[in-house]
Symmetry: C2
Subunit: 239 residues, 2 copies
């Protein structure tokens, strides 16, 4: 289970992780032979991985001149959040109607105690984001809609890419936890409309926080250029 037995899956996950973690920056050209030799797989499974990445919207064919990692501008983030508002509001509403109350009551307890969890936490906030991921899973399970779950899954991939841009502001994390708590309480109380509204509030604040930080950084482009150390090639180690 450490590594998928299929080479195409390994190539897909590796490239996806590298794009999400900004090791492969937007605009990087992903040549087939170049990446296949780097990842130690043949061109055939690599092409399958690239096809899946294209379907995810993480790479796109730049006018036939090879595949490039898609850009993630502030406008793109706004677009992602417009879709996210629609899907997560629906998910919260349906989870409130159909969810197992006990599951969300348990999550309610954990989110209420999230400030303690934030005090002695990882530098990468592993425990916090793990809790959020468990909430997402609980909502997906409660909704029981595979189409909605699939749409949210691809969306969350893009959101992790966004998250790597915005530095974890402790004050924002605490506020976000309070917003999550309200969502969980509403679902546990089977209040569908409150769950929907609380989700809208949370997403509004999350987007607002990102926009504020982007403004402080005078544009996201400057920030992402300072992050990755690779020059322009997809290979970090030069020849």
């Amino acid at each position: 289970m450490a590594v998928s037995r299929r080479a195409s899956d390994r190539a897909y996950q590796t490239l996806r992780d590298e794009i999400v973690e900004w090791e492969l920056r937007p605009g990087s050209v992903l040549g087939e032979v170049e990446q296949s030799t780097r990842l130690g797989v043949s061109r055939t499974p690599l092409r399958e991985a690239l096809t899946r990445l294209m379907a995810d919207g993480l790479v796109s064919s730049q006018s036939g001149r090879g595949l490039v990692v898609t850009d993630l501008s502030l406008a793109s983030i706004r677009e992602i959040f417009e879709v996210r508002q629609a899907l997560e509001e629906q998910a919260a509403r349906l989870a409130a109607r159909r969810g197992d109350t006990a599951v969300f009551q348990q999550l309610e307890i954990e989110f209420a105690a999230v400030n303690e969890l934030l005090e002695h936490d990882d530098p990468v906030r592993h425990a916090y984001y793990g809790l959020v991921a468990r909430l997402d899973d609980a909502i997906d399970t409660a909704v029981g809609n595979s189409y909605l779950a699939a749409a949210l899954a691809t969306l969350r991939t893009h959101l992790v890419r966004v998250r790597r841009l915005a530095v974890d502001d402790p004050a924002r994390l605490s506020a976000a936890a309070a917003e999550h708590l309200l969502i969980v309480q509403a679902i546990a109380a089977r209040d569908a409309e409150l769950a929907a509204h609380a989700t809208q509030v949370h997403l509004h604040q999350a987007l607002r926080n990102i926009q504020k930080m982007a403004h402080l950084q005078t544009g996201l482009q400057a920030d992402l250029l300072n992050r990755a150390s690779s020059t322009s090639s997809a290979l970090p180690k030069g020849t």
Copy 2:
């Protein structure tokens, strides 16, 4: 432009059309060698086509035992409509805010005269569904959100598959046109909330109509079994 020059695109479009048109029924096993010989392409581009179909949710790997065309039960249709409600409401709302008024005023005129169009129409309602498709395009253009457009595009593929199940009831088509007219009017008037509500009404009625017809047919499974003449093989023409 009649056919894509790439064999993988041709294989993808052909298989996608055949699945949507119920020529390949749910549960059909898509063997690689079988389909590659049938479509006259090699296994490599066919595999790429199958990967894209998996991403679309039209086929799924049945426990490693080969790829099969996904089922489309009444429960699946309800799930699709739950996603559709969320996405199309958002799309209508944003289109009302950002759309070019003149475009939707033109569509308003055409939808107002749709009863004449329905009188002398194709048996497949080509002109009617073409008008609906133009409305979809106009909304996508007005929204200007590539993520939302992509999500709606895959969703519409599934909806065409649903449409092929429900017989075109003239009364329902007329009522649907009236609902569409209200949506277009709301967008042209830049009334975002009315556009959102009118979309919800339309989708509610559309799903209700499908469920009603499914009930009359005593389940969709019986119907789809009567439609396609192929037995269980993916090859309509026997050897």
